[in-house]
Symmetry: C2
């Protein structure tokens, strides 16, 4: 019996060549595929079969099955008409980097378990820090997602705010509270649940008319909690909220957290990279006062999933909350062992794709893409409202536009249905994929530009589809 049924170098070369050609072809034709698939639940599973094969299949047939049964059932995040959520498209160099990451297959849990993987990660994170203009007092690492980064920051904040949390746990200790705006991402709430603080610990601070957290409301909430014996653990401000990409007034919020001695975390997962643009830098004022910041290169910068950068000013509370070094992993190396910051022990070599991206595109190229996306979004917003059917539901922020079809004197409920129908029809067309949100209790359409593949013509197409759908589906019913 052979040691393993692995491939010969020739077989690997053949498979890589086929996969590479498939990749190039996919990027060429993805714009012609329906961005959201028409597939009923369970169809892909049935096509794949019920049982694993006993014997190897040739790669050619597997690739054909992948193309026929799997790719036809994907939502194409790399489609140029993908304007939903926040985009997470993949720049070409990141694909090549992922191949190299898989080739070396190292585990960056300790410096010792792959010194260069830790050092590339720290280099790439520091390059990003410089590119977005944060001071050298910040360092950090790469986690999978912003949810994990925010959770990790909350554990550090919990340790500082609580009483002997690491040793004694939360039971028997004081109640802790987390503050974030009504508009912040669900990951803040989920982090509080996971951290054992409970749903009740989350204070949803009210926002102003532009969906920005009100500093005086934050101050009042903290003051009230303190009076009631509740300890404030963390404030999470957002630069680029999920619904409208609004920007919390971080400088004013930082003054509040500083006064009360509360941890300030900034969620800049989507918008963070825009700090590379001098003309946008002002929107980030105050974030250098944060204790921790998360930004996701796998969103707007175009590294593939997953690549979420957590930056912090002081590593000590992160280590205090979680670091454990079992005997079988003890080492005498000086460099940071990144597994001590965060929950996961095994760590992919995520730094490589960010480093490759900087090298292959350059900061000017990266910034240019962001600038172009913002211009496209602003231009699209202008043309959206020109027709008189759509109105902006929030100020355009970064590359995100919230809007709603509206007619004078219409019933808001009927208008909600109208907008819902418009979205369904546009998305069913397969050429554009938009999402929705809720603002002030109303159903709102949402378009966010952030894909490396999106050009003006794809926005033209989306706008045309929106106007056509709004026209055909009048609020009174199908036209």
């Amino acid at each position: 019996m052979p040691n393993h049924a692995d491939w010969s170098p020739e077989a690997l070369r053949g498979a890589l060549e086929q996969a590479a050609e498939w990749t190039i072809d996919y990027r060429r034709r993805v714009g012609e595929l329906p961005v959201f698939p028409t597939v009923e639940p369970g169809r892909v599973r049935r096509a794949l079969g019920d049982h694993p094969p006993l014997e190897p299949d040739p790669f050619e047939g597997i690739l054909a099955d992948f193309d026929e049964h799997i790719v036809s059932g994907l939502t194409h995040w790399n489609h140029p008409g993908f304007l939903a959520y926040f985009s997470s498209s993949t720049r070409a160099p990141s694909i090549v980097a992922e191949l190299l990451v898989a080739a070396v297959g190292v585990n960056a849990m300790l410096w010792r378990t792959s010194p260069a993987a830790t050092e590339v990660e720290r280099t790439a994170v520091d390059w990003l820090r410089q590119a977005v203009g944060l001071p050298p007092s910040f360092s950090g690492l790469i986690l999978d997602t912003a949810s994990t980064a925010t959770f990790t920051a909350l554990l550090a904040a919990r340790e500082l705010a609580g009483t002997r949390v690491r040793s004694d746990g939360l039971a028997g200790g004081p109640a802790l509270a987390v503050y974030t705006s009504e508009q912040s991402h669900s990951s803040v709430e989920k982090s509080a649940l996971a951290a054992g603080l409970g749903h009740r610990s989350v204070r949803r601070i009210e926002v102003d008319e532009a969906f920005r957290m009100r500093p005086e409301a934050l101050d009042a909430a903290i003051t009230e909690d303190l009076a009631n014996g509740v300890r404030p653990a963390m404030v999470c401000a957002t630069i680029g909220t999920t619904s409208t990409a609004s920007v919390d007034p971080v400088e004013a919020l930082a003054a509040v957290t500083r006064r009360h001695g509360v941890w300030l975390h900034v969620d800049a997962a989507y918008a963070g990279p825009a700090a590379m643009l001098p003309e946008q830098r002002g929107r980030f004022r105050g974030w250098e006062e944060a204790d921790s910041i998360v930004l996701n290169p796998h969103k707007w910068l175009g590294t593939s999933l997953d690549c979420s950068v957590l930056l912090y000013r002081d590593v000590a509370p992160f280590r205090a909350s979680l670091a454990l070094t079992p005997t079988y992993l003890e080492s005498e190396d000086d460099e940071t062992d990144l597994m001590d910051i965060g929950l996961a022990l095994g760590r992919r070599f995520r730094g490589l794709k960010l480093w490759v991206l900087f090298r292959c595109v350059g900061t000017d190229g990266l910034a240019g893409t962001l600038r172009r996306h913002i211009e496209m979004a602003e231009s699209a917003a202008g043309r959206l409202v020109e027709g008189g059917v759509f109105r902006l539901a929030a100020p355009v922020s970064f590359s995100t536009v919230c809007f709603r079809a509206a007619t004078a004197g219409a019933d808001p409920e009927a208008e909600d249905r109208w907008n819902r129908d418009i979205l369904s029809r546009v998305n069913a067309g397969g050429r554009s994929f938009l999402s929705h949100t809720e603002l002030g209790g109303r159903y709102v359409l949402r378009l966010s530009v952030g894909s490396v593949h999106t050009e003006e013509r794809h926005l033209d197409e989306a706008l045309e589809a929106l106007h056509r759908a709004a026209d055909e589906l009048s609020p009174g019913g199908p036209g």
Copy 2:
């Protein structure tokens, strides 16, 4: 200004060809590289430079820098002499799968955000379940690492054991406890810290002479806690502990957890795949009674990092502890939205590499590799003790051997130093990489076979280096 500084199809083809050739060449020559690099902390960072480039660099130069400055500083997890920790080598098909994952770049957070990604994941997980002989009542998903999987299980268990944890948090509630053996992985302790249970919540249950948790000690600990008003949240049993690969008596432990109504989690991260072998199946007796099980295809099965499978019998407590569906992600689809199970919202298309592995290797091929590794480890253990210098420090279990150089009447402290020196010398040789652990307070050497690249001759080489080092470094000092 162009929309983006991304590559043309020709540039992508050229870079993929170079990276593919590099990959094939790396797999050919990795056995000739020192498995653990000689690199002082900071050298790689200095070589990469302080600042990100403004302008793009040609890929050829970047690949050359990668090879010269980064690869020379890696610990080579795909080296055939990698016998440390638990192996995490990469089968060739998994490399190709990662290329395809990066090419499509989808996010499997909701069924809707990529239906096929969710369905491939569920198919691959079910194939693994069948392969290891677990009943169809188990389903699951893929997370990054076993630490995350165990943490996720603990959150579900915490919800069931506590009092309104999701809504009210742990403060004010009863103290909870987690039970695991003295030999279990640090991730259990880390999970308890992250979950807010505190270090004090972790009961390290004593083990027998073969490093297996004692069921009667577990029963006594739970009984004592209950008498003191402490609520047992979870028992974590291990099949294949980190130090010795020992197997907790899961059937007997399950009887204890059933009697007390406590969640049983089984950590089979390393050894789980061995349940594919009929001759090993008996060692897994009782694991079908667990509430949750983790096994890592990225360890012994040869998918690339990261691929950790969490199986559970009932999804409800997982959803109860964490599920949140914000408006902007609401959908009306029936299939499971996997982001509701676990902390991370964004999810890589990890199912593909496991599916590709099953298709490209087949269950017979996968099982054959595991069987061969176990035979190699048993054979190596036999030859190790033959020379009279080394003694087994634990029973050989699966493909893991714990041993120690020992001489009659020697001072144990001096013997510890001797073993430490032996390990340093062998690892410095660059041909084999072993690790160590502590058993009964003594320093113990550890060899684990699990790489798809390791053949008999690599074990011969490691054994020869061990015997030579033991000979040259007598306990009395350098020979």
